[in-house]
Amino acid sequence: MSKQHSIVEIWVYLSGSPLFALFITLSAYQIGLTLYKKSKQNPLANPVAIAILLVACMIQVIEMPYSTYFEGAQFIHFLLGSATVSLAIPIYRGLHSLKGRSIPLVFSLAAGGLISIASAVGIATLLGADSSITGAMYPKSVTAPIAMGIAERIGVSPTLTAIFAVSTGILGAILAPFVLNALGIKAWWQRGFAIGVGAHGIGTSRAFSIHPEAGTYASLAMGLNGVISAVAVPVIYHLFNK
C-alpha cells in the first residue's frame, strides 16, 4: 500500500464522518470568537459572520458538497430548536420590566415588526429582487432559529432567511447607536427595546455589553417579536402572496 493511497484513504474516511463537519464548524467559530475579542468586540468582527465565511470558503476549496457538510453539521443545527425553547428564560426574566410600560412596548413592537417587513419587502421588490429573495425577507427581523422555522412554514428558503437574519443582526448592532443618537433617544429601556425589535440576537448581545437595562429590554423585545412573528408572519405572507 503506497503512502499516497493511505492519505487518500484517511481523507475519504474523515470527510465521510460527521466529525469533520463538526470540527471545521466549531473551529471556525472559535477563530471568530478570538478575532472578536482581539478587535475589542468591534461589531464588524462578528464571530458568526467570520465562522460562516470561513466554513463556506473551506468547503468550496476542498470541493465538499454542501449536503455532505450539512449531514455532519446537522447535529449543531438540531440544537437550534432547543436554543429557541431556552429563550423562555430571558423572556421570563424580562417580564417584570413590562409592568407600567406595557402600552409603549406593545405598540413599539407592533409598529417595528410591521415596518420591518414592509420596508424590507418593499425596498427589495422596488429594486427588482425575485420572489424567492423577497419571500425570505419576511421573517428576517426575527431571531434566526424562529425565522428559519417561519421560513419552512411559508415555503421560502430557510437558508436565505438565516443569511438575511444574521446580516440584519450585524447591521443593526453596527447602525443602532447612530440611529438612536440621531433621534435623541436617551432612555436605556427605549434604546434596548428598539435594538431588540430591529436586530434580534446579535443586537441584544451588543445591547447587554453597553448597558444591562438595555440588554434586558432588548432580549424581551427579541423574544416577544419571535413569538408574535411566528403567528403573524405566515398570515401576512399569505395575504400578499396569493
Binding site: Y29, V85, L95, R153, T168, A176, A199, A221, V231
Partner: protein
Amino acid sequence: MIFGLVQILLFQSLGELISQFLLPTLPGHVIGLVLLVLWLVIRKGVNAELAMVADGFSQHLGLLFVPAAVGVVLFLPQLKANALAIISALVGSVVLTIAVSAVVARFLSKKTVNE
C-alpha cells in the same frame, strides 16, 4: 446541567407534539418556548440548572446557525444578481425598524407620564 437539558428537551418535545397534532400553524419549538414561559410564571422562578443551560445557549446562539447559513454557497449566483436590492433592503429596513420602534416607545411613554 443534565437536569436543565432534560427540562428544555421535555418542553421542546411537548411543543413538537402539539405542533404535529393540534396546532400545525406554529413551529414546535416556538410552542415549547411559550409553554416554558408559562411554566416559569406558574413556578415563579428559574432553577439554577435550567438557567445554566439557557445562558449557555444564549451566549453561543450564533454558532447554532452556522450550518444553515453556510448554505449561502448554494445561493451565491442569486445573491450576486440581486446584491443591490438585498443590501438596500437590509440596511433600509434595519434603520427604519429601530427608528420607528424607538420613536413609538418614546412617544407613548411621554403620553402616559403626562396623564
